[in-house]
Subunit: 206 residues, 2 copies
Amino acid sequence: MSKNIPEKVSNRLTLYHSILAEYIEQGQEYISSPQIAQRLGIDDSQVRKDFKLLNNAGKCRVGYIVKELKDSIEKTLGFTKAKDAFIVGAGHLGLALAKYDNFNSYGLNILALFDNDPHKIDMQVNNKQIFHISKLPNLAQRLNVDIAILTVPRQYAQDVADFLIDSDIKYIWNFTPAVLVVPPHIKVWNENLIASFLQFACKEIV
Amino acid sequence: MSKNIPEKVSNRLTLYHSILAEYIEQGQEYISSPQIAQRLGIDDSQVRKDFKLLNNAGKCRVGYIVKELKDSIEKTLGFTKAKDAFIVGAGHLGLALAKYDNFNSYGLNILALFDNDPHKIDMQVNNKQIFHISKLPNLAQRLNVDIAILTVPRQYAQDVADFLIDSDIKYIWNFTPAVLVVPPHIKVWNENLIASFLQFACKEIV
DNA sequence: TACAAATCAAGAAAAAAATCACGATTTTTA
DNA sequence: TAAAAATCGTGATTTTTTTCTTGATTTGTA
């Protein structure tokens, strides 16, 4: 982190990471840039350029050491650094994310969920409790959590975001289609699934 | 569509679209590029350049007509063109997507879900039935569906993708972290939530 | 009406990203 | 051992994307 890696590059790094994980499963020790490039349909010098960013030298005629490369990517993208977060909105998407165990191995720990529906309060999802939203400010402070994953319905998104900001949440991973208005010190990452699909559809589906 | 709009641009277009929807709700007739730019923290000439791609002229000192702009974006991104799709994998994420009514208004119609878990077969989710995966080839052909939303566990992703391809599926929206190997005429769009988060974390959370 | 302010349009410049090209190195093979 | 092949590393080139700049247009106001 902190190295200011461009979005496109870190996007590719995660794809490389998946491929490397496969190679390790298969017991392969080395991997070459053309192998990866072909798999992803990109240029092989692109792959080498990206790896250079990781300060991970390859060997001519042989390639890169899979294990080392994978570790470098994990370090660079911050898998190794634990990050605690709350899910705000225990709807279907919120629950799906809560059950997504994989987050853990990527350094993201979901500690709890929050909702305002009395029926959901105190339920457990994947060993994580659902609390009433009113408990959030206190818990955020006590557990020192400043990341929120926002999965409430669109019409409540801004109000809930304002509430989160009042509760000292600093980072919002926004799964709602709302474009949040926030002060400059709050960072929002928009995960607009519809937008994502449209890009796909618009590019590929003629 | 087909106009080969860069990914970054279509990404911004969907953000503009959300803002335009708000303006319409509020009954605003006009919107200016600096207004949008400020909202998103980007350059206003960037916004104008993007709008120029839509062939949508603005008026000096006044701005753009909200309604027209919104329609242009919808036409350009293909909201208006109905696209039918299947969800393959009726796990939490699959169900969450099936219940996401909004897809409809963006031109994506989920017709049915597929799974191999006998307990899930024949259940209804949001008026969509869950079928056994073995029914997919037939239904795909009969309903003329060539888009699949893949939400199975990672370890089955490649096998299921192969099966889909055999069933004449052409477009796969891949929610699994697997990097799928497919023939060149099959288009895959990777929606790697973990990757997405890591980009956020890596950039913003120091 | 004249002037100021806001905004668009479009070309120029700058920055960023991707691709190309080629020398250097290592391994394999004849 | 020499030649061939595969691959890395990296500088040069090209392409794409973003930002800057300037001029024109419209609206509001003194």
